[in-house]
Every structure is written in C-alpha cells, then in structure tokens.
Subunit: 679 residues, 2 copies
C-alpha cells in the first residue's frame, strides 16, 4: 500500500471507529477497523453514488450485511458527504440520533436496507440485484443503459452461517446475478471466539456449488491493490455473482487485534491512544479527520456528481426518444400507482359462485398484472397452491436457461421462504417494483426475521399467505396455522388481512397497494367461500364494518375470512330464536384500530355482547370480543368438515356461545366495556 | 434387482401408496413410489428396530424428512409389524386416525420426530445423531457399546433448499457425526415443476464443503444393490456424515411418472390399475400385500427382536459391572429427574444484590450442571451475552479438534438459530438428554419453524432467550423484541416465562424441567433487576401470584420480568396518594390460565381495575388487564433509561394510567369483567 492518502483515509476510519464506539460507550469497533481497507477501496474506487442526491435511481447499492459494524457505514457516509455530520457520529447509539445501533433504512440517508439481524443484508442484496436486472431488462434500450448499477455487500462469518443467506445465495447463483459482488470479511472470529469452534466449512467451495464466481484476497489489512483488483475481476464476470473472501484482522491496530474481545465493546482509552500513535495520529485528539482525507472525499463526491449528471443527460435523451417508457419509469420511481388502477379490481355480487379467497387473489393478480406492471411476484415452490401466478406471466430467469427472461415478473423462489421474504425487501428497497410472494400462512414464520424487517423498514411488500387456518384440512397440525395471525397483529406497522369473499379480497389488495410505507399479510382460504351480501371493495378501507346491520342488537357476531360465513349462518339461527343480531366482518383488524371512536362504536355498540369467530388462536381477540370461538390447541389432520366440527368452529356452537354470553352478562349485571370501545 | 422378494416388497409399497392416497382422496403418492426401493433396502437390510418395543434405547433412528411422503412411512411401519394396522392405512388422513397427513411424534408408534415442514427432519436427525454420540461417549465402556445406533434420513429437494437444513448440515460436518446417513431422493421435481426452475446448485459439492462424505446412486428406481452398497460404504466412514444422492423417478410406475402431477394428489383409478398390472398385481385388488411380503417382514422382525435381546443381555452385564452408570441411564431414559434436584435451585432474599435475570439464569445452570447431568446446552454464538455456559462446562466437539470432546455438554451452534432449535428437538426426541439453547429473544423468530414443532411434538426443550425487551437499549429496534412474547403466548403447549428476579428465575427452571411434555421459552433481561420482597421459587408454579397483597384494593398492577420492579415503584407512588394497590407478578401467564377460577380471582379480584406493565406489545394483555402500559410501535436505539422514558414504560406513567383508569370506570359505572375472571 504505497498511496499515502489511501493509508491516511483507512487509518482515519479505524481511529474514528474506535472513538465513535468509545463515545457511545457501546457498540462494535472490531469489524469497522478490520473492514476499513475494503470499505475505503470500494467507496473510493468503485461505488457510484451522489451524496447530494442519495435517491439517484442508478446509484450503486451498498449493503453492510454485518450491520453491527455500522460505525463503519456512518463514518463512510460522513466522509463521503452524506447528511451525517461529525456531531451525528458523536451521538452514535444515542436516543433519536441519526446514528442508531444498527443501520435503519429511511432513518439515515444513504442506508439502503436495515441490517443487523444476520443474514438479512446479503439476502436483501440479492433482491436489489434482481430488481436492477429486471428493471434493466424492462427499461434499457440500445444505447440507453438506464439501469446498470452494481450491488455491493460487505458481510461477515455470522451472515454466512445463517440459513437465510444460504437460501438467497443459492438463488443468486441460479439467477446468474453478475452485478452482485459480496466482500466477505474473513476475520476468523465470531462472538464465541475462533470460528474453529463452529464454522469450519469451506465457504469458497460452497459458493462455487451455488454457481458463484469466487476470489480470495490474502491480506485484507494492507493489500488494497489486491482488493481493488479483485473487485475489478468481479465486475468483469457478468454472468455470475462474485464472492471475494478477504482475510482481515478484527480490530486491526488494537492490542487485542484478532481476538473476540475487540468485537462488541469499546476499546480501552489507552488502547485507542496507542492505536492513534501507531497510525501517526495525535493520541490525544478525538474524532480526528485529516484535512487531506476530507479533500479526497470532496473530490470523489464531485466525480460522483458528474457521473449522475451524465446519467441525467442520458435520461433526458431517453425521455425524448422513449417518452412512454420514461413517463412510466418516473411514475414508478415516484412510488405512484397508475391513475385509476383500482378500477381493475374485480367486484362480486352474492349471485356469484363460492370461490376460495386464494383463487380470488389469483383473479386480482391477473386483473392487475397489466394495469400495475410494477408488480413482481412469486411463490416458495407452491405456485399451484398459492395461485400466485397470473395468466400470461413470464418467469424471471436468466435468458440462457430458456425458462424465462430477466424482464419476467414471476419469481420461482424454490422452497426458501426466508430468502423469499428478504429478497422481497431488497426488491421493494430498490424502488420501481412492488414485490409479492406466496406460501402457506403457517410458513410465514419460517421467514419472520425478514418479515419483521419489512415492517421496521416501511417497505411495501405483500405476503400472499394461503391455506390460512385449520380449514386446510388433511395436511394436519404441522401445516395448520394457529398462532400466526396473532403474531402479525402483535407487530407494529404491518397490516394483517383476512378477506371473507371476492370484494374483500379486492379490498385487501386495494389497501395493500395504497399503503406504500407498510407491508401487508393477506391470509387466504384453501376452501371455497360464498360471496357475501353486504360486502364491498372500498369498505375494506375501514378495516372492519357492519356486514348485517341491526338496530339495538342483542348481540354482535364478529368474524374474519372463512368464518364470516359461519357468523352469518349463526346469526340466522339466533334470529330465528328471536334475537337481534349484528354481523361484523373484520378483514383488517389493525386498520380498524386506526378508525375514530364513533366509527368503532357504530360497529361495536356499547353494552352489547360481542362474540368473535376465527379458526385461529383466540389470543388477542379480547380487545374486540367478550367471548371467542376459535382455537386453543393445535389443529388436526382430517377433511375440513371433520376438523371444524372437532374444534367446534361451527354456526351451531357460535349460536350457543352467544346465548350463554348474553345470559352470563345478564347475571353479572353489566356488559363489560371492550378496549376497542374506549379510545 | 434379481431378488424376487425384494421386487415384490418394493412393488407392494408402490401399489399400496397409490391405494392409500387414493383412499384418503388426498395426499402424496409420488415420493413414496419413488422412494420405495431405498426405503425397502434400508429397512430390510440395515435398520435395527424392534416393532414390538419401539422405545428400545439403542434402536436405529429413522427420519422421513420429506414428511409429506408419510404414506411410505406408515406402510413401512405396517409391514414391519408396528402398531399400524391395514385399517389404519385405510383411514389415512382421516380425523383422529393413527395416520395423519404428516407424521406426528407421540401420535403414531415408530415415528421418531414430527416432520412435514421442510428442512426440519434432517435437522432433527443431526440432533438425534449428536445425542447418540454424546450418550455413547458418556455411557459406553470398553466392551460395552450401549449406544451405537445409526441415524438414517430420507429427504428430498425441498429439504435441501431450506436454510435450516443448510445450517444443520454445516454443523453435522463440523461435528463429524459419522453415524448420520442421509438418503437424498433426487427426483428432480418440486411442486413448481422441474428443479431447473429454482434449484440448480451442485448439492454434492455443497455437502463436501460442509465436510460430508458423499455418494451417488445412479438408478434408485431399480438398483437396490447399489443402494445397499452405498449404505454399507456410508457406515464404513465413521468420522463424517454421509449424503447418498439417489436418482429416482417420482411416481415410478404411473403414466405420469417423473412429473409434478404425481406429487400431491391421488392418482387416477385407471392409472393405479395399470400400475398394478405392470407390477404383476391384480389390478382389481386394493390394499394388496402378498403373503410372502408379510412373511419376509415377520422374519425380519424376529431378527430385529433378537438384536434387541442381545443388547438387553449386554445391558444386564453392564448393569452388574457399572451399577451407578446403569441406574443413572435408566433414570434418564425413564424421563425422571434426580430426586431432590430442585434443592439445588438458588434462592434469594431482598437483601441480595440486583442482578440481570440472564445472569441469574447462568447461576441456575451452574447450580444444576452436576445435579441434572442430562442438561445439554448451548448458544447461537452469543455465549457471553446469553450466559448459557456454566462454570466447568466442556464443549461438545469431535475429539480430533482439541476443542472439546463428545461427552462435552456445551454446544457451539454458531449463528444458526433455526438449526439450533431443530437440533434441540432431535436431542430431546432421542431421550436421555434435556436440551437448552440461547439467543436474543428477538431471534426466536429466526427459528420459529422448529420451536412450533417443539410444542406440537411435546418435547421438553428449554429456550433461554435473553435481551428480552426494549431494555436491551442501544442495539435498537432490529434487536428489540416487541411481538415475540405474544407469539409464544398465542401458541398452544408451550410455556412463556418472564421471571422478575432470582427466585422467579429459579422457579421458571423448576417448571420448565418438571414439565417433560412441553417446551418453555424463558425471557431474560439484559439489565439488572432487584430481588423482590414477596417472591419465591415454588410460587412460580401458579404462573402468576400476588407479590404485594392488599385487602379490597382500588387497583391491581400486574407485570412481568423487568417491569415488576416498575409496578412496585408505581404502587408506592399510588399508595402515597392514598390508593390501595395490589401488585401481581405473572412470570408464566399461560400456566396461570390453568389455575382454578377461585385462585385467579384471588389474584385479580372482581370489580377492581387492572393495569398491566410489560415492555413488549400490549397485544393479548386485554384478557388480564383493563389498561396496558407497553409497546404499540417498534423500539429505538439508545441507553436503556432513555428508551424506557421515550416509550413511557415508567412508574410515573403507570401510576397516571392507573388513576385515569379508575376515574374512567367510575364514570361509566362499572369495572368490566375480564376474561380471566370468568372461567
């Protein structure tokens, strides 16, 4: 390493990382210090981003998959001229700061995806690279490479051990995503010590088995030329993603370099002073950035601004030559849906046939496939069951396979739920596409690590979850969700949807697509359901509504999805017994929570017993209902009718429970106020 | 394949599988028909089990990882003489039958682990093989190979795509589990069609990268000699697990053999007739088992009974020579804890120092490590944070590594939560060991697919989940659980534990260990907590209890874990304001649900407002409390004090909320009855 400014810039990162973590009295200095050479080389020589316009569409994407090393990322953003000040660095991990403990998309400019939970970042990056490939194939024209950005990742041993990363890497190899380049910080240390204790596989061989191009840099602490050459070699291979294994020393420069000690806690003050001396910095000065380092990055920022300016010129020409495509692309990048798109949503009357909501979902997707062309969907190898593939869909596949093309919009994820969800997060984060993906509702929890991050990161990702209760029948308790919707409802910033018929299914897609800052889980039935009297598409925007109104009811029956028809049947029986019944359908309970109190009270009038019916856990329903018809055990294998009967999710039992509840409240002298009636 | 009886037995499986699935009008005929040769070869020539004593300790373990193919497993159990009758086969997938849609441990004799959710079975098998190796190293003596069984798995493409299987396979290679042999049904078909659409990696190369021994059988449809030889070769390699890739034809014999069509639906009646003709069976006869096939299996059962008898003789001698070890082993295999073990649980008084419950958990584990030697624990690379490693622990490692030994009881799982949980299920299923494993509570949902199966399968698995709320502070919303405990509480047959101090931590372990048919999730704090006045170890068996009693209280404050101390502080403030306050601690809410109503009413008296405090989602608390102090958004990065203040999880806010609630109920004229007060 002969270039003085490179050395200086790298050592600036190292000393600054030690100071920033020490200042917070919390955090991870080791990885930033060890990764400083690769990060510097990558950002100084390759990454095209404009700090003054972090949203430039064709910027290179960078993902710090080992998100605990985010002091590194914040320092790079600061040096490069993004909106992260030295004061922000000094407030690392402080409450409400711009520099939280792990990088959060939408919170700090320049952060592409939220990372920290291991394995997510590299999997998001596969989604970012997929989106780039898809949009390039869709919008690029001869002479107009509108989309040609690279996606870079830094990741550590932890990410490589996680199954989600293995799933995503296998897909990246299958898809031949040549613009994906991962720099593996091979520091041989995890929290439990030497990787010898639990991580002895041959990573290079594994990635070759996935179809990746692999490279090794022997001295990642010093040999920036080798790092630079490896990245250049990676860029030259265009039909395979590349993994560059870079041998580094965690906490390089510290007295404990190469040991676990430097991983997750601030270095001692003396140690930091010695590091600074070793690197030719003033041991007494904190948060030092040499002027020539700032100058270097200023120059780099100017170069990068020029790169964007050239792209803007190119796009202006593109706009003249291809006005339709340009307008379409601008609409998509602005996150706006095509005007009038919602008119394409199918509508139904009670005269229409009974159909499973998974099938109704397929009809919606087919109806929207041309109208909302940014939709890109797939399934975790359950296409024929999830019914996620619309008519005329083309698979997203590398053209050489003969199985599809890069402008295809149907994604074959294989049996890889967790990677599917994480890749969807990456696709949504790229902008310009709206991802949806299907599996059985029960297997949502195979990938919850990613779903939770859809919600944390405000990403519009649509989960098409079929076979949504014990109603799936014969597959039995291993496949029948019980606890799953409670989980989703307990999670902030995600809509839990369970439509009861065709109109509600259309309404759920309406809400899911309108909300560009929030994921949605749509739970769909395997079994056929009747088209209900009283449902509509738009009413779903209220989250819950009165399906069958009743003046001064004796009882309210509230249900979701496949159980609304059961509630309607129970209401009929109760009416015959002389009771006045209001029936409520609650397709999106958490959207109902957002309604004003007077609306809520029109749905659930005070002093009226409420019985809820849902063929999933009763846990959590107590905020809306006094008595719950639902599950308190796991399900059972058998034909649907037998399963519903076994667990008493029937109209008859619902009617009996309603009568018992009315009687009980008469005895105690009051109908308890429900939480949803209070605020 | 020259042996007539083998051919006949294999074709019996194939035709029977077609009939069984057709009879149920639901299920998966393709894989059983394709896997018939490998299953027959494996069970006829290798697997040592005694159908008359399915619980024989040293039996070979068999796992059908592609559990949807369970018609195969039920047929094998029937033929071999297990307690699965032809009538049971005729009730395949019927409600309450012995032959549900996927194999369920504890439901059907001979089923070792519950499978169906893909990737779980092979990961369980790693746990079964680990348990075998650990118990062999612990109990075997020169000349006394008490434990030497093999663990066999059949798995398909689906299992190999799942991340959990990748994690577990990497560990199996690391641990050199030579007695683990996996037969990969390479039929090139998944639900979405040809594996070319999403699964093009080189599986053999991948498993070699993990350190596995690999073999290939080119014609798994006919060449049973090659299958038998491969298994023999696998057994000969004792320091590596083996993957045998066996090329098969899904639905072999059907007119649609080799296609997706035969995967997940009954074959047509005509097709089945043709298959029977092709295989020399009477096309009109259903559920046919030739007499010589039954005879063959009867003979095999007798041989196998002899194998067990020999082992029993060996064990009788062992018992004479090593009476202590034999008694200990018998105790463990009976699932009984050592008498008086609970006396080792640490007990505390309010004079003791404030300590984090994760640290108190470490003290429990250290205290129990010698007393309950069947405890085998580990962490997903967070040992120093989870504090799961007791003093004097030895790592479970292959002796050649120099890092531990096979009789070690501390397991380094690496950053692989999902595999850790699935492996723990396998360890628990083996019998003789009680597994526990640690990670951050937030990452419980990285492996929920396996945790759910701990509950479905009635396995005593202890989840040691630290950093259990926003109280973890600086790591921020990506690491702070919010929805996680609601998920566990919404799940049947699993205890959700959140102890508040030392006595409650001991009490949680007491309940977790006493319940041999149910997993437990123990949520533990990062931060220090005071030892509470009024807590005890045994009271935790009630799930919730009155920590500070009050005659005719004006209000009840109920809390869990780290928030109990906040409730105590709020009670003090309210008492100063002249209110009468009862404080309730709820370490195990779902165990409280099991108590009789009069006990519940002693904790939560009728007509008294209840305020709950928990630094996690308020979702689900409405069954116990009228107003909730808790989370409705994700958390934030910052020092713990700032984070609690930001989200108002404070004594001050709790006291204010209590006053508001009391006032509100006075206004409406009643204190609503809570669900927990009703039944």
């Amino acid at each position: 390493m002969v270039n003085t400014i490179d050395t200086s810039a790298i050592n600036t990162i190292r000393t600054l990382a030690a100071d920033v973590v020490r200042g917070a009295n919390s955090g991870h200095p080791g990885a930033p210090m060890g990764c400083a050479p690769m990060a510097h080389t990558l950002f100084a020589k390759y990454i095209k981003v404009n700090p003054k316009n972090p949203h430039w569409a064709n910027r290179d994407r960078f993902v710090l998959s080992n998100g605990h090393a985010c002091a590194l990322q914040y320092i790079m953003l600061h040096l490069m001229g993004f909106n992260v000040s030295m004061d922000d660095l000094k407030h690392f991990r402080a409450i409400d700061s711009k520099t939280p403990g792990h990088p959060e998309r939408g919170h700090t400019e320049g952060i592409e995806v939220t990372t920290g939970p291991l394995g997510q970042g590299i999997s998001n990056a596969v989604g970012l690279a997929l989106a780039q490939a898809q949009l390039a194939a869709t919008f690029n024209k001869p002479g107009f490479e509108i989309f040609n950005n690279d996606t870079y990742v830094i990741l550590g041993d932890g990410c490589l051990q996680e199954g989600v990363a293995a799933e995503a890497a296998s897909l990246a190899g299958h898809w031949k995503l040549g613009k994906l380049i991962a720099l593996y910080d091979d520091n041989k240390i995890t929290i439990d010590g030497d990787t010898a204790v639990s991580f002895t596989e041959d990573v290079i061989q594994r990635f070759e088995s996935y179809g990746w191009h692999t490279l090794i840099v022997a001295d990642g602490d010093n040999d920036t030329d080798a790092i630079a050459k490896a990245i250049a070699d990676a860029k030259a291979v265009t039909d395979k993603p590349t993994l560059i294994k870079i041998r580094t020393t965690i906490g390089y420069g510290s007295q404990n370099e190469g040991e676990e000690k430097v991983h997750g806690a601030p270095l001692a003050a003396d140690d930091i002073k010695n590091i600074k001396s070793k690197f030719g910095f003033n041991p007494e000065e904190q948060y030092a950035v040499p002027k020539d380092v700032y100058n270097f990055w200023n120059t780099r920022a100017e170069e990068n601004a020029k790169v964007e300016a050239e792209w803007n010129d190119l796009f202006a020409k593109y706009e003249k030559e291809f006005p339709t495509e340009a307008a379409e692309l601008k609409r998509r990048l602005a996150g706006k849906l095509p005007s009038g798109w919602e008119k394409a949503l199918p509508r139904y009357t009670p005269a229409d046939a009974a159909v499973a909501t998974r099938k109704l979902s397929e009809t919606v997707l087919t109806a929207l496939s041309d109208v909302v062309p940014e939709l890109i969907g797939g399934s975790a190898d359950l296409t024929g069951s999830n019914l996620t593939r619309w008519k005329k869909a083309v698979d997203f596949q590398h053209p050489s396979t003969g199985l599809g093309s890069y402008d295809g919009r149907y994604v074959r994820y294989g049996v890889r739920e967790h990677a599917m969800f994480a890749i969807m997060n990456g696709i949504a984060a790229y902008q310009g596409l709206i991802p949806f993906g299907g599996t059985f509702l029960n297997f949502l929890t195979y990938g919850w690590g990613a779903t939770r991050l859809s919600a944390v990161s405000n990403l519009r990702v649509i989960y098409v979850m079929t076979h949504d209760s014990i109603g799936l029948g014969e597959d039995g308790p291993t496949h029948q969700p019980v606890e799953t919707l409670a989980l989703v409802r307990a999670t902030p910033n995600i809509y839990t949807m369970r439509p009861a018929d065709g109109n509600e299914t259309s309404g759920c897609y309406l809400v899911a697509l309108e909300n560009d800052h929030r994921p949605a889980v749509i739970a769909l039935s395997r079994q056929n359901l009747p088209q209900l009297e009283g449902s509509s598409v738009e009413i779903v925007r209220k989250g819950a509504y009165v399906l069958q109104a009743q003046e001064k009811p004796d009882v309210v029956l509230a249900a979701t999805g496949s159980e609304v028809a059961i509630a309607v049947e129970a209401a009929k029986a109760l009416t015959q017994d002389g009771l006045k019944v209001q029936v409520v359908s609650m397709p999106i309970t958490d959207l109902f929570d957002e309604q004003p109190l007077d609306y809520k009270l029109s749905v659930f009038p005070k002093n009226v017993p409420v019985i809820s019916v849902e063929a999933l856990t009763i846990f959590g329903w107590q905020q809306y209902s006094h008595t719950q018809v639902g599950m308190t055990t796991f399900g059972a294998s058998g034909p649907i009718k037998d399963v519903y009967a076994k667990f008493k999710i029937t109209a008859e039992n619902t009617a009996n429970v309603a009568k018992d509840t009315i009687k009980h409240f008469k005895e105690i002298g009051h109908v308890p106020e429900l939480l949803c009636q209070r605020q």
